[in-house]
């Protein structure tokens, strides 16, 4: 069985994000980038499925500018057999990405599309769902457990009331949540081997997709600075302070 895993290059989660002074976006110059942590979990799950003998080939896919090749190299070091880079230097919104991934998924004939539930940069949480809708195939989001059995997969997801288990027919889209697994450290020899694995670079035109901008970013602003707190000694004091602010 073939698995397609989408990976996104995002500002590293350890970086303290700074908003550009003109409000057009966040500062990316000299900032560390890495693979979206949820996508790492998706990669790890693909590798684990292969170790269990459920998966025979792992293909990593990404969409974006030339620098995204670094992220694909990480995916290859993680254990992907090969990678596809859909090169697009401009802004890529979820629908464009989803259309491109859907086309690649169809072309590759992969039975499973694994992706992070969302990317930590825009937190859109849309791409996986859109891929499933575009191809009219099953989807299971926020997976905390994935079991593949022949032509079906059982997905456990964390919901407000507890755990929900879904059975989906393959091919299916599965977006993964934080507690699915803990990604392993890359092995240094695998990093060296990743250099020799193939990356196929294609354009959006090659998959018959045009860039679409359904939304427009009007302004990016940092969250307001937290005002200094007030220390209260008693509950009464707290209540009266809240009343004074008109909060209760």
């Amino acid at each position: 069985m073939k698995v397609l895993v989408s990976v996104k290059r995002v500002v590293d989660y350890n970086v303290r994000i700074q908003v550009k002074s003109d409000g057009s976006g966040v500062v990316t110059d000299g900032v560390k980038f890495s693979m979206n942590p949820f996508d790492e979990i998706a990669m790890e799950e693909a590798v684990r499925l292969r170790e269990k003998g459920k998966v025979t080939e792992i293909v990593a896919v990404t969409i974006g500018g030339a620098k995204n090749e670094e992220t694909l190299r990480s995916a290859l070091a993680f254990g992907a057999d090969r990678a596809i880079h859909i090169k697009e230097e401009g802004e890529v919104q979820p629908l464009t990405a989803a259309k491109a991934f859907a086309a690649v998924l169809k072309k590759e004939g992969a039975q499973l599309f694994l992706c992070g539930k969302q990317a930590i940069d825009d937190d859109a949480n849309q791409t996986g769902q859109m891929v499933a809708s575009l191809l009219d195939i099953a989807q299971a989001t926020f997976a905390s457990k994935v079991e593949v059995d022949g032509s079906k997969a059982q997905i456990t997801r964390e919901i407000d009331a507890g755990l929900e288990t879904l059975e989906v027919d393959l091919p299916a889209v599965v977006s993964v949540d934080l507690r699915l697994n803990e990604p392993r450290y890359l092995k240094l020899p695998d990093i060296m081997k990743a250099k020799k694995k193939p990356i196929e670079t294609i354009g959006l035109g090659d998959v018959g997709v045009a860039v679409e901008a359904g939304t427009k970013t009007v302004k990016v602003a940092p969250p307001p600075a937290r005002a200094k707190g007030v220390m209260v000694k008693t509950v009464d004091e707290l209540v009266s302070a809240l009343k004074a602010k008109g909060l209760v």
Binding site: S74, I191, M192
Partner: protein, 439 residues
């Protein structure tokens, strides 16, 4: 005629008269006077130029012409993509696994076995072993990559980094100088996740120790083997080591000997020190240890250079000190920004801010010298002098950075609640250690 030109004319007149004076027939005097005249006239003409130059415009280009980015041949020490990925991976391991366990390892004078195994799983050992022997080493020497690995590990904890890297050093030495037989015998084991615990023993417990004048000696036996006698100090991981690489003097100069710990006559005593405690340092005494003829690393052939060996070993300590100095800096910046005294963060005080700036400057200087020497070593160019510079700077500034970090944290610097007291102790090792590790 302007006033300036008038003045110039008057000056030239005097100078010409002086130039033609018979008084200047003395060659010495004439030389001096000509110099004065030349200086005076050229200044004068320059002055006239400033007044009278007219700038002529060349044909205007369609847009402003700017210099492009220069090729990264000189002074560009940016790691390659692979090196950066290796760095990130090792740094992640160091931050998530080593740092939280460091305090306990320091107290216990030992790194937990599980952590050593986890570090071995990263495959640092495999990176030193040629592909033909089951490893993942490329065809090129990886001194710089190894320096990056050491630096990243030491950012987590220096003592534990030594524990993790001790076997790697032995693998590096075997790959660099071992005979085909020695490589085939020992190197494949280092690709394993259960790589043999091993260490390089150079330092000796005596005053004015000089790694080039060793007391430990290997004498030839009639049977063609060697007898090894002497004592080594601060050998990392010695008690659990399966393999030692021991520096000893021979009639042909200092050399390295491969000694399996099962050999008779090896006595190991724990030697806990001020720093490097997580590396379980110990004293190792060799009492007439019988070695075969195969024990001499490189078998006296090839291009073994003891001088290069010592220099590359020192570079390993430099790389570690860079990592720990950076850790101190990364710890100090948020601390001093958050620690409030007299109603404002202490970083608002120049005594604090300047000190932190100096640490940043010195740590970067240490890093660049280390990388420079490592790059030269990797390229097979002379690097011993660069390594000496790196060692001097790292030993001096590393110790100062450790002490300053303790000072900047005030009372918190002294107590074990914060890691800087440990870094202070560990950074002192850099100027003392010889051997132990190898890049």
């Amino acid at each position: 005629m302007t006033a300036t030109q008038n003045l110039m004319g008057f000056g030239l007149k005097i100078l010409n008269r002086l130039g033609g004076s018979p008084m200047l027939d003395d060659p010495k005097l004439r030389k001096a006077a000509t110099a004065v005249i030349r200086g005076a006239t050229s200044t004068g003409f320059r002055l006239i130029g400033t007044v009278s130059r007219q700038f002529k415009s060349a044909p205007r280009p369609s847009k402003a012409l700017r210099p492009g980015a220069a090729g990264g041949d000189l002074f560009d020490l940016t790691p390659t993509d692979e090196q950066q990925m290796i760095r990130d991976t090792v740094a992640g391991f160091a931050a998530e696994q080593l740092r939280p366990a460091a305090q306990a390892a320091d107290t216990a004078c030992g790194t937990p076995k599980e952590l050593l195994a986890a570090a071995a799983e990263l495959g640092i050992g495999s990176m030193q072993v040629p592909e033909q022997l089951g490893g993942a080493a490329g065809s090129e020497r990886s001194v710089v990559t190894n320096a990056l690995i050491a630096e990243s590990l030491a950012h987590g904890d220096l003592g534990m980094a030594v524990a993790c890297l001790a076997p790697v050093g032995v693998a590096v030495a075997l790959a660099e100088w071992g005979t085909a037989q020695q490589q085939a015998t020992y190197l494949p084991a280092f690709t394993d996740e259960k790589a043999p615990v091993s260490a390089i023993a150079v330092l000796e417990p005596r005053p004015l120790f000089d790694p080039f004048k060793l007391s430990t000696a290997a004498k030839r036996t009639d049977a063609g083997g060697y007898v090894l006698s002497g004592e080594k100090s601060l050998v990392p991981m010695a008690a659990s080591a399966e393999l030692f690489l021991v520096a000893a003097s021979t009639p042909h100069g200092p050399a390295l000997f491969i000694v399996e710990s099962s050999a008779k006559g090896i006595h190991i005593t724990a030697e806990p020190a001020m720093g490097l405690r997580a590396a379980s340092t110990a004293r190792v005494r060799f009492d007439n240890v019988q070695l075969s003829a195969q024990a001499l690393l490189g078998a006296g052939e090839g291009d073994f250079s003891y001088e290069n060996f010592i220099a590359r070993s020192r570079l390993a300590w430099c790389a570690l000190s860079v990592g720990t100095a950076q850790a101190a800096l990364d710890y100090l910046i948020p601390y001093c920004n958050e620690r409030v005294a007299f109603g404002e963060p202490i970083s608002h005080r120049q005594a604090v801010a300047f000190n932190i700036s100096n640490i940043a400057i010195e740590a970067e200087g240490m890093r660049l010298l280390t990388w420079r020497a490592a790059a030269l070593a990797a390229a097979g160019k002379p690097f011993v002098q660069q390594a000496a510079l790196a060692r001097r700077l790292c030993a001096d500034k590393g110790a100062v950075i450790g002490a300053d970090a303790v000072q900047l944290l005030g009372g918190h610097g002294f107590v074990k609640e914060h890691p800087v007291e440990r870094w202070y102790r560990d950074l002192r090792a850099v100027g003392i250690m010889e051997g132990g590790l190898l890049l």
